[in-house]
Structures are given as structure tokens and as C-alpha cells.
Symmetry: C2
Subunit: 305 residues, 2 copies
């Protein structure tokens, strides 16, 4: 049995996959903060997911983990996962010792990319555009993740798209993330809503001018992300995921409309048929956990066995 | 013997490659305009290159062609090569019949990418940033070209980088090409110099304000192109080629300085070590013709044999 863990800022989403790649069980456990808590809770999530699928930890063939931060997939080490309180953690080795199974660690966006590719049944090349607190992308081609030469492929959130924009946390001006990242939308919107981007969309529907402007900016940024991904890598499909993708059709329809509007003014863009190449992750589906389970299985040498 | 032809707007650059990939001969023939002229002159260039290498056309094992326009590499068909007067031409089939050898047709930027990869002895992933009249890129990974799902990979010249910029020929506003493309620099500069970008650099050296501004804009655009390529695809190396690359160190040093300056303000960019990942094509080297010869050889099924 293969397990996949998606370790997020607040919760760990764990799934067990059967031989046919079907999700046998799914559990959620609070992540906690700092190395000890994260390792303990990841272990707990793995045991629970295995048990929920009617198996013991001894039946595990592989475990895959998706986690934010800078991941050295070969060494199973995660660094700079600030939101989890991790400076550097040999997560692969530590969990492998505890679980007695091979453990592979993957960047969370790459894991989600692989999961989306699988859950949507794609076969051609794909980019996964993660619209969460920040903006990043992952690539899948021929069923495998493209990590790039130094593990930073898909960092499109830090491509500047407006020299008159605002200063990003990364130090640059007008990064894509400053218009399409949920963190920035929340900061500009203010207030203390649990889901600020959802509130912005609701208030925009009600005609609030400031909400309309912020929503329009976010949609334009998402469309710019799609355009960057297709004009650079020419992937067949861009799948939008991340927290903001929970808005579903309310997001997708507007991104497509924005791309169609851009195409009206450009025969070149029109020929790329951008809007028809954009999709959403299935709402509520455990894309990153499933992708992590697949990554734990498919990749070269396991970190430890 | 393998031949490579780089069919450009004014001349065809043809090389013959020996078994060790060494360039045995190099000839140049005027391109002409329209299907008949292009086919006739390409045939002539092939014969001359073969003869200059001491061989007859019968000794050809493969011919590769790099040509601007939209290329269907599988079918050997080139479309919309406006500067050559070609609407649609089955160049692979036609030349193959005339030469009695397999002919493979490749987009010129992709051919140049492969040639640069080879001539620089690279082994990791690479993007080739072509700064010519327009701006486009090609990707090579594991020794092979990444064409993308629909043959439009690397069209980064049409990624907008300034919403307050000028309208590009493609219909969009502020495309990268409007600041880093030689055609736009020439248009903004005016006059009738044979090499307007060279004149801009010379006049900038002499302190001309308008030239300084245009040069600075061009350098910033080239640096933006490097950043887009590495932040998206995370290629190990970006090789700058195209007509503007003939400026050599005068270009490269400024692009690197620009990237280093950006890195001063951003720890994130600094960690990517962008400036050390940029190189130039060897000046005057037949990158596209050599790449075409290699493409003619390495790829799947020949178009016709």
C-alpha cells in the first residue's frame, strides 16, 4: 500500500492508494509547528491513513510527502519551510526509520502537479498553477515532474509583470504574486475574514468597488500566469489549483473570459487558444496527497528503505 | 555526411559536419524570396557545402534545416515565414526529392538552441535566448529540443512585462519584444544605420542621452528574459544568441551587471545566481546551421528518405 502525505501550514492531508491508484482512505491531522511536532504528526497521519484503509504500517510499500519549502528530493531534506517552523529537516530519513518504509519528500507544488495530472487523467504536458497565499507552478510531462536544474522550476510568482507595481516580499517590484497571490489580496483587502479572497469575490458580486478592483486584478494576474506558462513552456494544459481554486467556476469562468478578451486584441494570442487550455483541480480533491503517494512510488532510488 | 542549413531572411548559412561533429565546410548563399527561390537556393547551398567538404550530394546521410516561421517538424512543412515570402511550403519533401537524402525541417530558434548547446559543450538543461529582430527562446534538455505541446515553446517575446508599455505588433501591450527586440530598438532610434543596435551602443558610449535610455531598456529587457526563462523552466544555463549577441561582451557584461544589481535588492534572486548562468554564443559561429545538421540526424523518423 502506498501512502501520500500533504503537509500544509495547518493540517496534514493523508491518503492511502490501492493498487489501481484508487484512494482507499483519507485522514486529516493538525500539522503543529517545529520539527518534532511535524514529524510526530506526519507519523500519526500515516498510521491513521493506513489503518483507515484496513492495513498496518507493515503493509506500506512506499510513502510520499509533499511539503512547502526548498526540498532536496534526492536527499529527502526540506529547508526553509518557514510556516512550519522548519529550518532544515531530514524528513525522509527520520520518517523512514519510524515507518519502516521508503519515504520520498517532494515540494508540495510538484506533488500537487503530479496529483492533478493523475486525477484529471491527463496525458500531454501540463503546468499546475498554484494560487494560494503565494503563486507558484509545477510541470508534468510524460507523467513525470520537471524539477529544473536547481529545484526552482515554476517560481513564476516572482516574475515582475508591472514595473510600477508594489514591492514584493522577495524584494522585486510588481511580481505576479503581488496581484495573484492570496496573501497580497488579503493584505490589500484588510479585515479579518477567515477566507479573505472569498469575501472579496462575494463583495464584488454585491457591487463593492474596491472588491471589484481587487478581483479584477487577481483575475488578470491569474490569466497572466497562464500566459507565461504557455508562452514559455507551451504545456498543453494549465490546471489551476491552490486555495483560491476552491472558488471553482467563479474563478475559472472569469480567468477564461479574461483570456478570451485578450485574444480579441491579438491574433497571435487567439491562435494559442489559451482559454480552452485552462482547467481547475477537482474541488476538494486531495491532489497533493495523491501526487505525493505517486511520487513516493515512481521515483528512481528511494531515499531510505 | 550531414548537412545543416540555416535559412535566414537574407542568406542561407550551410555547413557540412564530419563524423566527429566537426565543421568540414561552411558556405553562404543569398536566400531569395518566395518558395521557388528559397528551394532553389537551399538546394544550391547544400550542393556547395557538400562539395566544399570534398563530397558529392550522393554522400549525404541527412540534411537538417533551420527556418523561421511556424514549423511542423514532423511533416517537414513551414508556414507563415513572412520575411521569406513563404505562406506554406513542404520544404522537407521538396528538398528531400531533389537531394535524395532525408531532410528534417526545424524552427530556426530551436536549431540554434541545439547548435549552441553542442558548440558550448553543455550537458545540463539550457535555454537559448534569441535577441534578433524579435525575441524568442528555445530549450534543450538531455541533448534534445523541447518543442512544447503545440510547437510554440519559447515565445517569451510576447509575454507582457509592462502594462504601461507600447503596443506590440502582436496586439498586446508592453511585450518583452518591444524593449528587447532589435526591430523595436531600430524603430525607436530611427535613422538608417545598417546595424541600428550597434549604433545605439556606440552613441550610448559617447554619452548620447537617448541612446543611453534605449540601451538601458534593451539590457533590462534581456535581463528580464533571462529571469523569465530561469524562474519558469529553471534551466541551468541561458545562452544569448541572435543578431544582437554579435555585440559580444558589450552586451553580456551589461546584462550580467543588470542581473547582479537586481540580486542586490532581492535575496531570492540572489540565491538563483542568475548572472553566472548567462553565456553568449561563440561570436560568428554557425550555431543554427550546426544545430540544423544535428537535428537532421538525431530526430525520430526522417520526413522522407
Amino acid at each position: 500500500m502506498r501512502l501520500g502525505l500533504d503537509i500544509g501550514g495547518t493540517k496534514i492531508d493523508a491518503v492511502a492508494l490501492g493498487g489501481d491508484d484508487a484512494v482507499l482512505s483519507r485522514v486529516r491531522v493538525a500539522t503543529g509547528f517545529g520539527s518534532d511536532a511535524v514529524v510526530r504528526n506526519a507519523h500519526e497521519a500515516a498510521i491513521q491513513a493506513a489503518e483507515a484503509a484496513g492495513a498496518s504500517a507493515a503493509a506500506l510499500t512506499s510513502v510520499g510527502i509533499g511539503i512547502p519549502g526548498v526540498v532536496d528530493a534526492r536527499a529527502g531534506v526540506v529547508r526553509h519551510a518557514v510556516n512550519l517552523g522548519l529550518e532544515e529537516l531530514a524528513l525522509g530519513r527520520v520518517l523512514s526509520e519510524r515507518l519502516g518504509a521508503s519515504v520520498r519528500v517532494e515540494n508540495d507544488v510538484n506533488a500537487a502537479s503530479l496529483g492533478a495530472y493523475h486525477l484529471l487523467g491527463l496525458t500531454a504536458s501540463m503546468a499546475y498553477l498554484n494560487l494560494g497565499t503565494g503563486v507558484a507552478a509545477g510541470f508534468v510531462s510524460d507523467g513525470d515532474v520537471w524539477r529544473g536544474a536547481r529545484g526552482t522550476a515554476g517560481e513564476i510568482g516572482h516574475i515582475p509583470i508591472d514595473p510600477h507595481g508594489i514591492r514584493c516580499a522577495c524584494g522585486q517590484i510588481g511580481c505576479l504574486e503581488t496581484v495573484a497571490g492570496g496573501g497580497w489580496v488579503a493584505r490589500k483587502w484588510g479585515g479579518d475574514a477567515a477566507f479573505p479572497v472569498l469575501e472579496v469575490f462575494d463583495r464584488a458580486d454585491a457591487g463593492d468597488e474596491r472588491a471589484l478592483a481587487l478581483r479584477s486584478e487577481l483575475i488578470g494576474g491569474a490569466a497572466a500566469g497562464v500566459r507565461i506558462l504557455i508562452l514559455t513552456a507551451d504545456v498543453e494544459t494549465v490546471v489551476i489549483g491552490g486555495g483560491i481554486a476552491n472558488l471553482g467556476e467563479r474563478l475559472l469562468d472569469r480567468v477564461r473570459a479574461n483570456l478570451d478578451e485578450l485574444a480579441l486584441g491579438s491574433q497571435f494570442l487567439s491562435s494559442l487558444e489559451l482559454s480552452s487550455r485552462v482547467r481547475l483541480v477537482p474541488p476538494g480533491s486531495p491532489v497533493a496527497a495523491v501526487g505525493a503517494a505517486l511520487a513516493g512510488d515512481i521515483e528512481n532510488a528511494p531515499v531510505d528503505a
